[in-house]
Amino acid sequence: MENKKQSLGSMLLGKWDTKTIVGIAIGAALFGVLMDFGGIKVTTNTSLTSAYVVLPIVGALFGPLPAALTGLIGNTIADLIGGWGFWFDWSFGNAVAGFFIGLLPVYGAKIADGIFTTKHAIIYAIVTIIGVGLGFGVVTPVLTVLFYSSELTVTWIQAWAAIISDASVAIIVGIPVLFALAARNKKKTNLTKED
């Protein structure tokens, strides 16, 4: 495989072709459904959900901004079919967390080409904790105050539960999934892409 140098900006934005659009859409649908039905309840409206496996996959295949959009649209879809009301503060928290989780291609983990090493896994774990902490510990509470002022005490409890449960799912389940995906894609790399 030839190593094309991409600028940081284009890596952050991802490539906006049809494939990316479909990828975000399917990621968001999976995220929404798993958020509602693929988890065990921890506290009010927060659960140990398998949805957080979707974000690293979208991030690895398409980049950080698509992962952020997956979190944003996915969480809104989860609210739509979940029936617990609409919490757009959490949608934006998920978007920030998704952006950080999806930073994979920026530090060189190219899952599509089968590149994912232990070093990448460690960076991924640290970035995930920072991202989830920033998303649910800062962005969500700030937006909660702006949108729904009375809900802050509940949000703090939920935020801690969400940080711990979502970060652990993204790391403990996410890293093996990323290794498996990388190994699966490695077999294909003797083929070169024709332009």
């Binding site: 859409a25 459904v33 409206n45 996959i57 079919i81 609409f86 009375s150």
Partner: protein, 283 residues
């Protein structure tokens, strides 16, 4: 994950079905924003009644809503119970005051204000849920994309929302297919024969092929869209969107009224905030 996911793929024939996607999207957002903005029972209760009328006007599809409604009522009651466990006197800061009705221990008390807050919250969540159900049941994925596009959202984003919406029943179908094929290979999912923990673990095992097949399908869908010239031009039109009918003109007056109400509610919250978040009738 059984019969809870249902998306309407062909437009129906009732009053709400016949509205354009644009009107449906605007009406839905009017209801949702109003319900987020207010904690006042005098607004929430009429809204709940209106959304229930809306849902029952789609009478042919009521059967599919039953299972999820039971699930949602249960989830909401559980949420309220968890709030009560964490902070039994929750209503004190929100409604102002704590009239003790009932006392288990000095900490676990049942106050009138907390109960009123829970009632308001329950009505608010149910109104949001019924509005969401009415919206899902009356709109098709194409109409959703058309409706969002008519509200000046870039069409690539509309397409994302529309595909995601359309893909939900496919996830259900794949989940069932994988579950059946794994059971055929000897995986025990019967509640009577296995423990809850093993069943949970086996459900996680279903998720892996579910996620992998879903992302494998991305290439196919993207190719099909590219072959039809998706993304070539800056704007696009939709077959699903039609001219405004009489219903659209009536609903336009209604949603303009709702948006004005939202402005009034928000203005009151900014310029003349009441002492407590939730209006309590007996204080």
């Amino acid at each position: 994950m059984d019969d809870r996911l249902f998306i309407n793929l062909s437009p129906g024939s009732t009053y709400l079905d016949k509205l354009t996607g644009k009107t449906k999207v605007r009406l839905f957002f009017a209801f949702i924003i109003l319900l987020i903005a207010t904690w006042d029972m005098r607004i929430i209760f009429p809204t709940l009644i209106l959304t229930i009328i809306g849902l029952s006007s789609l009478h042919s599809k009521l059967k599919s809503v039953k299972a999820i409604t039971i699930f949602v009522v249960f989830t909401n009651l559980l949420n309220l119970f968890l709030i009560w466990i964490i902070e039994p006197d929750y209503g004190a800061t929100i409604c102002g005051g704590s009239t003790v009705l009932f006392q288990f221990t000095p900490f676990y008390i049942v106050t009138g204000e907390t109960m009123w807050y829970f009632l308001v919250r329950f009505c608010k969540m149910m109104a949001t849920f019924v509005a969401a159900m009415t919206f899902i049941q009356s709109i098709t994925p194409s109409e959703l994309a058309a409706g969002l596009y008519a509200n000046k959202i870039p069409y690539k984003v509309c397409m994302i929302v529309s595909i995601a919406f359309r893909y939900i029943p496919d996830i259900l179908r794949d989940f069932q297919a994988i579950k059946i094929s794994m059971q055929a290979r000897g995986m025990e999912l019967d509640a009577k024969k296995t423990t809850l923990w093993t069943r949970l673990k086996q459900n996680v095992l279903i998720l892996v092929p579910l996620i992998v097949t879903s992302f494998d399908r991305v290439g196919n869908i993207a190719n099909a869209m590219d072959l039809r010239g998706f993304g070539k031009n800056k704007t696009r039109t939709y077959y699903a969107e039609h001219e405004d009918g009489p219903g659209d003109r009536q609903m336009k007056i209604f949603y303009i009224f709702l948006y004005l109400l939202i402005l009034v509610v928000i203005a009151f919250r900014i310029f003349k905030p009441s002492e407590f978040e939730v209006w309590y009738p007996w204080s």
